[in-house]
């Protein structure tokens, strides 16, 4: 089974890396989506079906659309991509320094957290239990997330509506 684990990890990291390096924005956005699918594969491998399907539904289904629309609408129809200034020595040093700092922070976090001992089998939880736990212990958090989403939705519609008002098209 560890072979499958390594394969998924390689797929995920590979697609994330190439997403960073490619010049074509659309290609890199799609590779980013591929890496999200990798995360979902991890959940499945770990036996958490509910979370894996939620991840695919939310990320590959919806957020990928948001990313692609963002890439499409903000580009000023320039065929050529964003211009990057020549790499001077000072910029390279600064980049190296920030990279090293981030790497140190992450490795510290990974090393010092105490992972619980490997349980003999993946915990078999049914969807009903997840639902009950969500509603009982984390009911508050769920409601807050709901409120945030509705506010975001209303904001988007008001933005779009005002734009339509300024340009009244045909009435039925």
């Amino acid at each position: 089974m560890t072979l499958a684990l390594i394969l998924i990890a390689v797929l995920m990291l590979g697609s994330a890396a190439t997403a960073m390096l490619l010049r074509n924005l659309i290609h890199s956005a799609l590779l980013l989506i591929l890496s999200w699918a990798g995360v979902a594969a991890f959940y499945l491998w770990a036996g958490a079906e509910f979370v894996a399907f939620a991840q695919v539904l939310v990320y590959v289904g919806a957020i990928s659309m948001v990313v692609l629309f963002a890439v499409l609408l903000t580009r000023q129809n320039r065929i050529v991509d964003v211009l990057i200034e020549p790499a001077t020595k000072a910029r390279a040093l600064a980049g190296l320094f920030v990279g090293a700092g981030m790497a140190a922070l992450l490795s510290v976090a990974v090393c010092y957290t105490k992972f619980p001992a490997l349980a003999d089998a993946a915990p078999q939880t049914s969807v009903k239990e997840i639902g009950l736990v969500l509603m009982r212990q984390h009911g508050g958090a769920l409601l807050i997330v709901g409120v945030i989403l509705t506010v975001a939705l209303l904001g988007a519609t008001i933005l779009a509506a005002t734009e339509a008002k300024r340009q009244p098209e045909d009435k039925p």
Binding site: F50, F53, L57, V60, G61, A62, V127, K128
Partner: protein, 411 residues
């Protein structure tokens, strides 16, 4: 296992007999491989004959015969007269050969990688939807606890593929069509999922086979307990049908490939086998969605009456599936196409509020389950009112300004 009639057990026993023939490690693999091959074969043929059924049914709707000319190749063993009169049943194979042999043109300015990847993704994901549908009492490919969530997750990537097709064709029409397709799919994902939530609320589980079992009983042996016969179930079924039509880009909502405006929408730059793949994906998506509709609302493989139980369950499932596909074809033969802004307005201003109301209605239905005798009538009445009144009121508000007109004549 033996209590179940023979026909019911036949496919399972065949598979088990074949699996235990093989050595140990291979058994798990062949077990699932057989299921996958069975699904591909059955629904591959089902797709082939749906295309013929669609053309023949549309033909009959339009007072003409459908295709009946595709004969059998000369060297076949069929006697002469049979070869001629085949009612067009070999039409799909003729179409398949045509699709395979047609040249596959890729425009030079197109984005080759995405152009090739789009059909692959769309067929892959629309096929994955079949994994959780319970075809028969014992015939369920994968027993998943979160089956419904899996189904909608599998359906989510079709938007991605349509966008890739539209964007990579590097053609004005495809771009417009890709935008339209996305707007349509996203705005109809919500009513589709919201129309399914009351079922989960009532049955308390996401697994499709449990839902079908919940619809298993009959009052006086005649009236089945399918969810479509409850007020909130009927409303949910109507919303589900409308949303399924929109999700699979069919008739009143086939905007992306609106011939009269955008030639073939995001499929303009596809030809040959890739076009056939898109075509196949659309039908697989349609079959999967109507399979889900049958499972949730029409009692999956349950027989309509108690004494009809002897007929194997998978035949009931297939019958209902064919019935629903015939309904979709019938709607395609009749209705006009909606404009993109009307389409989205219908979804956000009409279907989503109704679906939310239906959710409340299902909650009321569950809470009032224990009411005694005459109160049951009150329960039905209230449940119906909660759906019908807003439907009429909102229906009137959405059609303000439209209506039949009377005409005067010159003096």
């Amino acid at each position: 296992m033996s209590a179940v009639p023979f026909l019911e057990r036949a496919p399972i026993e065949l598979r088990d007999w074949f699996v235990q023939l093989l050595p140990g490690p291979l058994q798990w693999l062949t077990h699932h491989l057989i299921t996958v091959v069975a699904i591909l074969a059955v629904f591959g043929l089902f797709f082939a004959f749906t295309t013929v059924a669609e053309r023949k049914l549309l033909g009959r709707l339009q007072n003409r015969l459908g295709p009946n000319r595709a004969g059998v190749p000369k060297f076949s063993i069929l006697p002469w007269h049979l070869r001629h009169k085949l009612w067009g049943l070999t039409q799909p194979f003729a179409d398949a050969v045509k699709a395979l042999t047609k040249e596959d043109i890729v425009p030079t300015a197109a984005d080759k990688v995405l152009h090739f990847l789009a059909p692959v993704i769309i067929v892959g994901f629309s096929l994955m939807g079949f994994a959780v549908l319970p075809f028969g009492r014992l015939l369920i490919p994968v027993e998943l606890d979160a089956a419904l969530l899996y189904f909608f997750a599998a359906g989510a990537a079709t938007e991605l593929a349509i966008f890739m097709a539209g964007w990579s064709s590097h053609n004005k029409y495809s771009l417009l069509a890709a935008m339209r397709a996305l707007a349509q799919l996203i705005s109809y994902e919500l009513p589709l999922i919201l129309s399914v939530v009351p079922i989960i609320l009532v049955t308390g589980t996401l697994s499709t086979s449990a839902i079908v079992h919940a619809q298993g009983f009959w009052t006086f042996g005649l009236l089945p307990h399918w969810f479509v016969f409850t007020p909130w179930g009927a409303a949910g079924f109507v919303i589900f049908l409308v949303a399924a039509l929109a999700e699979s880009n069919r008739s009143p909502f086939d905007l992306p490939e609106a011939e009269s405006e955008l030639i073939a929408g995001h499929l303009t730059e596809y030809s040959g086998f890739k076009y056939a793949l898109f075509f196949m994906a659309e039908y697989f998506g349609l079959t999967a969605l109507s399979g889900l509709g049958v499972t949730l609302f029409l009692g999956g493989w349950q027989a309509p009456c108690a004494f009809l139980e002897f007929i194997p369950s998978y035949l009931w499932f297939m019958g209902k599936l064919v019935g629903m596909i015939m309904f979709f074809i019938w709607v395609r033969g009749t209705l006009l196409r909606l404009r993109i802004d009307q389409l989205t307005r219908l979804s956000w201003k009409f279907l989503v509020p109704l679906a939310l109301l239906n959710l409340g209605n299902a909650a009321f239905w569950v809470l009032s389950a224990h009411w005694a005798g005459p109160l049951q009538l009150v329960r039905w009445a209230v449940s119906l009112a909660v759906i019908v009144i807003p439907f009429v009121v909102m229906g009137r508000s959405i059609t303000t300004g439209y209506g039949p007109r009377s005409y005067r004549y010159a003096p």
